[in-house]
């Protein structure tokens, strides 16, 4: 295992987060079984107080997932030198079968925690905690993912063995495994670009429609999810090429580095932010008829839709500027 300080920090951090999630599981179960807002019994009052704790803990988990997502990629990038053939984080993550799954689960947890916080925010505005049971059920369903992330991440780091000089024979007999990132089959460029812009425009348009009219919420939410997927593919397929000004460099992680002006951060943050808000709109829509929410929900959803649209727009704007300013000229343009 590689005892890099960042590795230790990530493992320690995720252990703490798992602890917090496990700790919150019991009160969450209690809420599911015994919650009764009409009752004034002491048990109920204690449960209500506990919900403050769980909300605080989960807000913290969300913040942590955001930071650790980027730190994880950073760390993978820093250790790429230990593995023959690994050029950057993309190669490091490929070294053992835990790397990419850990990253994907981290991403999923970040999105899920964000959606949970939106649910929580709305639930708190209803005068009778209308969503509380659904909220905690959702939490209990994604809690195992958080634990899974800790395990996957630890598994990845613990199984890393750097390719070091072996005692007698130098290169030839050191662990000769090549982690060259093979040319993953990326989506062909022109269709990917078309898809990206079309879907983005549709999503933004739908979001603005929802903002103005309050309708089409499921549609917008679905389009947000689609925009997320298409944008990620777009980054792999052509956006990265323009940033690196190389027709073969598809890595989604190198754009987070200093050489490229850390442009990856605003790109990913606007994309993820827009997705969370967009998905949030859809997740809330089934509850529009609950009495205590009926007055406030539409306004909240409209704001979410507007924010999501703006974020998607910024993302597309950044991408367009990057393409236009790039010195790379790809055939066909």
């Amino acid at each position: 295992m590689i005892l890099h300080p960042s590795v230790l920090a990530l493992i320690a951090g995720s252990l703490l987060v798992s602890f917090m999630v496990l700790y919150s599981a019991r009160p969450a179960l209690q809420v599911l079984r015994k919650w009764d807002i009409q009752s004034g019994s002491e048990q109920q009052l204690i449960l209500e107080r506990k919900t403050y704790l769980i909300s605080t803990l989960l807000a913290f988990v969300f913040g942590f997932e955001l930071l650790s997502f980027f730190l994880f990629i950073f760390t993978a990038d820093q250790i790429h030198g230990f593995f023959i053939g690994a050029m950057c984080a993309a190669g490091s993550l490929y070294v053992n079968p835990f790397g990419y799954p850990a990253l994907l689960v981290k991403m999923a947890n970040f999105l899920l925690a964000g959606i949970w916080l939106i649910l929580n925010h709305v639930d708190n505005r209803g005068y009778d905690y209308p969503l509380i049971k659904k909220k905690y059920l959702f939490f209990l369903l994604f809690a195992p993912l958080v634990l899974g992330e800790t395990i996957l991440q630890a598994g990845y780091f613990l199984r890393l063995k750097p390719n070091l000089i072996t005692s007698c024979c130098g290169t030839l007999f050191s662990r000769e495994t090549s982690y060259l990132l093979t040319e993953i089959i990326f989506a062909p460029r022109i269709p990917a670009m078309a898809a990206f812009y079309v879907v983005t425009i549709l999503a933004v348009g739908s979001g603005l429609f929802t903002f103005l009219r309050g309708k089409g919420r499921y549609l917008f939410s679905g389009l947000s999810a689609l925009a997320f997927v298409v944008s990620l593919i777009a980054i792999l397929s052509f956006i990265s090429l323009y940033i690196y000004e190389l027709p073969t460099h598809h890595c989604p992680f190198c754009i987070l580095q200093k050489e490229y002006g850390y442009i990856g951060y605003p790109l990913y943050m606007t994309l993820f932010g827009g997705t969370i808000f967009g998905l949030g709109v859809g997740v809330l829509t089934p509850f529009r008829n609950i009495k205590s929410l009926s007055r406030i929900l539409p306004a909240i959803q409209r704001r979410l839709a507007l924010t999501a649209s703006i974020l998607f727009l910024i993302f597309a704007g950044l991408v367009t500027v990057l393409i236009l300013r790039s010195n790379l000229v790809l055939k066909g343009f």
């Binding site: 890099h4 300080p5 990530l10 951090g13 403050y52 913290f60 030198g81 390719n163 130098g170 030839l172």
Partner: protein, 377 residues
Amino acid sequence: MKSWIDRQRNIIDYTLSSLLRRKRKNAALYIVYTLVVFLLASVIFFTHSLKKEGALVLKEAPEMVVQRIVAGRHELIPVSYLDKIKNIPGVSAATGRLWGYYYDPISGANYTLMVSEDSPLSSGRIEIGEGVSRARLAFEGDTLEFRTYDGSIIELEVSGLISAESALVSSDLILMTEDDFRRLFGISEELATDLVLRVGNPRELSVIALKIAELLPDTRQILRDEILRTYDAVFDWRGGLLLVILSGGLLAFIIFAWDKASGLSAEERREIGILKAVGWETSDVIQAKFWEGLVVSLSAFSTGILLGYAHVFFTAAKLFEPVLKGWAVLYPHFKLTPFVDGSQLASLFFLSVVPYTVATIIPSWRAAIVDPDTVMR
């Protein structure tokens, strides 16, 4: 949105005044916290910086070193092997290298002796590193005596000191001419310590290494990248090990933080009760506690980092010297170049602020759920 900002501002106002009112308790926490960050920062900055220095130094190193191995041990290599090596396509240059160790009974130290290719030394003259200079109190113009392989003494004059910038690697180094070296150690002209070569295209390194292994089966080929990797790994390992050892201290810190956060004095409890009674809600109190934690964390974090930075880069990690020095007689006087980047700060953040915050969430919540009507009783 504006009202949210106003609300935070008001709560922060209360938080700051509350912190100042309990100076002693918060001062203790601040000091311990800063100390923890300081230790962590020192370790992380130090190991990272050493790694970078090593990498920088190695950048100039030859891409491949070929050494002769006899019965598992490194032996002198015939210079004639160079003929075979130079013929391999892709090899742009290859020469022999002469270097070795010399034990000096007067100072009890081991020096590294090396023949430098481009330094303009004339026969009988040497350049010495600052550690050698200190150990033998030898400066430009002085003469040093060396005992040769056959028991005779030769005298070599110090022409100058090796510049202090590379003190980390050159502290115990002595540079001399090839003739003097061979005379000192009795090595014939046909032999060298090892062979180094440079290649035109780095991608061909492994191919060339394979060829050499075939042509010269009694040699091993060491690639510079491998050295770098091993070097990095060792430093990470050492640094990581230190951190693991420090984790005991970190745990104590977390328990301390938990304790401080839970141990509300009667006065504090009363204060929170009053706040709840006059209209503060549980989440308002949690907010206040959050700001409290943030203020303490940020101030301790920044102070700890600044102190760690000063410690590592201005005093060359003085506090770690006993640990690093060991039996080294020629411990270098070095000055590390600051190599601090975002990921180090992020790691520090995860190892200090995150555990602290986690340790205080539950106690903060417990404090905040005080019933408003307790002050009425």
